[in-house]
């Protein structure tokens, strides 16, 4: 039973590879190389910090772009190209299909990020610092970035189930930005002292996935530790939210006529 989403996932991964999505790694590698070489000349004394900031931000940004752009066409492309027709005539439930597509994209992102992590380590090494205990936070920051990808991918998949890639992109980016600003929105609402506004902003805060939870890039750059409790809680939050969004996607997709 688990083999079916697995097969879909592997195929989705294969599609990404053959679509040359992984070529973005070349861009990342060039970026890291350029940064390692130039950083010593423009920022004295904080080269390690700059490399970590730049590397983690690039990993986050590139991955987000991938998650969104591939995510929004996960389902809609299969519908548009009609590849889904013969697939769903096989003994595969629609939720298994969704789970497989999701897992496939997530796998792609994880592999991509793994390569980038190696690149980042290489850049740090080149800049001359031996690896210290504080670098563990970098790995935690990357883990948090992966959690972020997991959430964004799920949201993109949800939108992919019923709207065109263009609209889905807008919606997903909208959700992401709202999630990043969720805390600010809530604070603004609290300050406004208007009960209605406060209610709305509170609702938004709890409704939208709070992406600001995942930003520990600054901590990683300064080599500060991130508590294990935070890691655990964020993992749980992500898991719950992803399941929630995928359930929504299943609900939407299960009743949909495929034109």
């Amino acid at each position: 039973m688990n083999a079916i989403p697995g097969a879909v996932a592997v195929n989705t991964f294969r599609e990404a590879v053959r679509d040359r999505v992984l070529y973005n790694l070349i861009f990342f590698a060039l970026l890291m190389i350029a940064a390692s070489i130039l950083v010593g000349q423009i920022s004295i004394g904080i080269d390690r910090m700059v490399i970590v900031n730049l590397g983690l931000s690039a990993i986050s940004l590139i991955g987000l772009v991938m998650a969104i752009f591939i995510g929004v066409s996960l389902v809609s492309k299969e519908i548009e190209k009609r590849t889904l027709y013969s697939l769903l005539a096989r003994p595969i439930h629609r939720w298994q299909f969704l789970a497989g597509k999701y897992a496939g994209l997530l796998l792609t992102l994880i592999v991509n990020t793994a390569f980038m992590t190696v690149g980042l380590a290489g850049a740090l090494f080149y800049v001359g610092r031996p690896f210290v205990r504080g670098d563990l936070t970098i790995l935690i920051a990357i883990y948090f970035i992966l959690l972020e990808f997991a959430l964004v991918t799920a949201v993109a998949l949800l939108f992919s189930c019923y709207s065109s890639p263009m609209l889905s992109t807008l919606f997903t980016v909208g959700v992401y930005i709202t999630g990043v600003f969720a805390q600010d929105i809530r604070q603004a609402g609290d300050l406004s002292k208007d009960a209605a506004v406060e209610f709305i902003t509170r609702a938004v805060y709890y409704l939208v996935p709070n992406f600001h939870n995942f930003n520990v890039i600054a901590a990683a750059a300064h080599g500060e530790a991130v508590g294990f409790g935070l890691v655990w809680q964020n993992t749980l939050y992500t898991a719950v939210y992803v399941v929630l969004v995928l359930l929504g996607a299943t609900a939407v997709f299960s009743g949909r006529d495929l034109k």
Binding site: I42, N53, S57
Partner: protein, 311 residues
């Protein structure tokens, strides 16, 4: 047709490059290349960074350093953007210690090497202390500002005491607090403070500044000492010494003391020591409110700068 197109492309590229240069010339004469900070509000910038604030902080820090470097080379330097740049930097990344450090020194520097705004420097460093209560170096920066720039010894003492309470703070901070409280603006205290700055910073610009200050302090110290010796000479011989040679001949000096540039000191007619007229050494422009040096403690790299005084 394809070849025609391929050959035409480089031609058009050259034309574009030529036009670009002309535009640059025209734009430059339009207004002096003005560096401006379009967005001033640090909070707004932080919000716009969409979570990538640490990276943006690094970028602004780089801008600040390059801005400083550029302005230094201007005939009439004006560091009015230094404060906004550092303010934005530290709002984006409140843990960027070196930015507070840099601001402490160069926001308060006067003359052609700083913005001359000690108030802003203090504001910046206080922000740093508030955001990073466990970084004692920021507390000592605050102490430095009160001590060196404002001659506000009570506040300086308070700042050093506060810094000394940080866990892992080295013991010399407490000693510094005590010394400032006791002896105020002594050369010794100042040497300790600048010595600490020199030893602890990795930033080359700050290090250079500290070195200049230490050299200036050493020269002052030398001259005070020479002044005393000149008085002794007068008492013995009846007149002021004409040069250090006189002092040496009288057995008051074991050798010839030189300034940090290697030139011997001179005396004016009243027996006041001064810098050699041919010396290349320039005294840092700070008002001098000092009394006699007290006894020395252990050596540190900064002490090496002060070097051997005897040739």
């Amino acid at each position: 047709m394809r070849w025609v197109a391929l050959c035409a492309i480089p031609v058009f590229f050259c034309a574009a490059a030529v036009l670009q240069r002309q535009i640059d010339v025209r734009a430059a004469t339009l207004s002096e290349a003005n560096e401006e900070l379009i967005l001033r509000s640090p909070e707004a910038i932080r919000k716009l960074s969409l979570g990538y604030d640490a990276l943006l902080g690094d970028i602004y820090w780089t801008r600040a350093v390059q801005y400083y470097g550029r302005e230094m080379n201007e005939p009439r330097p004006d560091f009015h953007l230094l404060w906004p740049l550092l303010d934005v930097t530290t709002t984006l990344d409140p843990r960027l210690e070196v930015a507070y450090h840099f601001g402490a020194i160069f926001l308060s520097e006067t003359g052609s090497i700083g913005a001359g705004r000690t108030d802003l420097a203090i504001k910046l460093v206080k922000k740093g202390v508030a955001a990073n209560p466990n970084i004692w170096q920021l507390g000592t920066d605050l102490g430095f500002l009160y001590y060196w720039r404002l001659k506000d010894y009570p506040n300086a003492t308070a700042a050093y005491l506060e810094a000394s309470r940080v866990p892992n703070a080295p013991p010399w901070i407490k000693a510094m607090a005590a010394r400032v409280a006791q002896t105020g603006g002594s050369i010794e205290t100042s040497q300790m403070i600048w010595g600490q700055i020199y030893d602890s910073t990795k930033d080359a610009t700050i290090k250079k500044r500290a070195k200049e200050e230490l050299q200036g302090l050493r020269a002052q110290e030398d001259m005070i000492q020479l002044g005393k010796l000149a008085d002794q000479y007068k008492q013995r011989v009846g007149r002021y010494p004409a040069s250090e040679e006189d002092l040496r001949a009288a057995g008051l000096l074991p050798g010839i003391a030189v300034d940090p540039a290697g030139f011997p000191y001179e005396f004016d007619s009243d027996g006041k020591p001064r810098l050699n007229s041919k010396t290349t050494f320039q005294m840092p422009k700070e008002p001098k409110v000092f009394s006699a040096p007290a006894a020395r403690t252990e050596s540190s790299p900064s002490e090496q700068i002060q070097g051997t005084r005897v040739q």
